[in-house]
């Protein structure tokens, strides 16, 4: 009796993804072409509201409602003082995986959906149509790195800004010989929270160049390398005024100590 060979990982990947189909193209095209009508409808509603304004009831005396509260709540207003808690997710091959959810250096680190459920909706501080710039365009979030591992590498820089002020700068570096990979992001945060999806056992508070930071180690750190990305998140400007500034370095295929060395050499201009 011949036992059929089980499919390889690559064959399984191919089989699972080969038949994935996109959403209806008609729906997408029609939704894109309907934007002007949406704008017209919005304009009509605005005009109607403006016309009705004189007849609307005024707020009762003594009301403490903040008319801008729903538009841009500050991060400190929204950040609950919580003790660390944990969520359980089931993984068929590994058993339960506990994802980190807790407070480190006064900031909440948890998976995105947990943060949202907890009311941290200020992740995107500037809800606007971003302008994108290349590497040479100067922004207020530019940063320098004094130390990088040697060897040929390719780099891609992306800068996003609203109203000429950057809210996101990223540098992605790939080391061609080793396949090592760095993804560095300096970003504004609208609340004292940061999305983090990593097993609890890998997360610990740390200090990088005397700054408060969070270290997320590789899954298999015995060799200093692993398939899971390691991360170092530096709370560069943890106080929100109105935004905190966070630097995040994610790396793969290089020892964690090397990532610490790189992160320690970053200069924030």
């Amino acid at each position: 009796m011949t036992v059929p060979r089980p499919p390889s990982i690559l064959e399984s990947w191919d089989e699972l993804t080969r038949t994935v189909r996109p959403p209806s193209v008609r729906a997408r095209v029609s939704s894109r072409t309907s934007v002007p009508f949406g704008a017209l409808a919005t304009a009509a509603v605005v005009i109607a509201v403006l016309a009705l304004l004189p007849f609307l009831p005024t707020e009762p005396p003594g009301s403490t409602a903040d008319p801008t509260a729903s538009a841009s709540p500050t991060g400190t207003d929204k950040a609950p003082q919580r003790t660390p808690r944990f969520i359980e997710t089931q993984h068929p091959s590994e058993g339960p995986v506990t994802l980190f959810d807790g407070t480190i250096h006064g900031w909440r680190f948890a998976p995105t959906d947990v943060l949202r459920a907890a009311g941290f909706n200020g992740e995107d501080p500037r809800d606007c149509e971003a302008q994108e710039y290349g590497a040479t365009h100067p922004t207020d979030l530019d940063f320098g790195v004094a130390y990088l591992p040697s060897g040929p590498r390719s780099e891609q820089v992306t800068k996003s800004a609203c109203d000429d002020r950057a809210y996101f700068v990223t540098r992605e570096i790939t080391f061609e010989e080793t396949g090592g990979y760095l993804h560095m992001t300096r970003v504004l945060s609208g609340s004292a929270s940061f999305p983090l999806e990593a097993p609890t056992s890998l997360v610990e508070p740390c200090q990088i160049a005397d700054r408060p930071a969070v270290c997320v180690h590789y899954l298999d750190d015995t060799t200093g390398r692993g398939g899971h990305l390691a991360q170092i998140i530096i709370l560069e400007q943890p106080a929100l005024d109105p935004y905190g500034v966070v630097f995040r370095l994610a790396g793969g295929e290089m020892p964690f100590a090397e990532l610490v060395k790189i992160a320690s050499s970053v200069s924030f201009e």
Binding site: W13, R21, P23, T89, E132, T158, E176, G179, E197, A198
Partner: protein, 165 residues
Amino acid sequence: VYISVSLEGRAAVPFETAYERAYGAYWTPVFRFALAWTNDWGAAEDVAQETFARLWRHRSKVAWERDVLPWLLATARHLLTDRFRKLRRRFLNLSQPATLDETTAIRWLDVKQAMSQLSPMERSAIILTVLEGRESAEAAKVLGISPGAVRAAVSRAREKLGEDR
């Protein structure tokens, strides 16, 4: 009012038709490339959708007379490095994809776990060359690295996955 363009050497067609053809033919390859890079089903869907949104937005500038897949892959590659823009999926996403049925989702988690041994570059290199059948030079152009680096990444990926050469 349609503006006529040509697609793949055929007679001129409206933008909308050209877009629909590209969407139907290339959404899956773009999704697969994004999935290879992210190892995250939901993020890959987002990137594929955003890539085609950009195709539509830049429809008047796209060279429709040529194959648009390279343009799509290059755009997806750019988005993949810029995918933290909305600060939603900044890190590894271990969540189960919502668009899959339970059986497929469980299989996917196993495959995903195995593929997580590979770096994004290694996954993308092996998917583009071995599964999508692209030459090293083509894959190198998409990934922004040298053809030699692509071959090295594929070799490492095979070794990690225990795949026969």
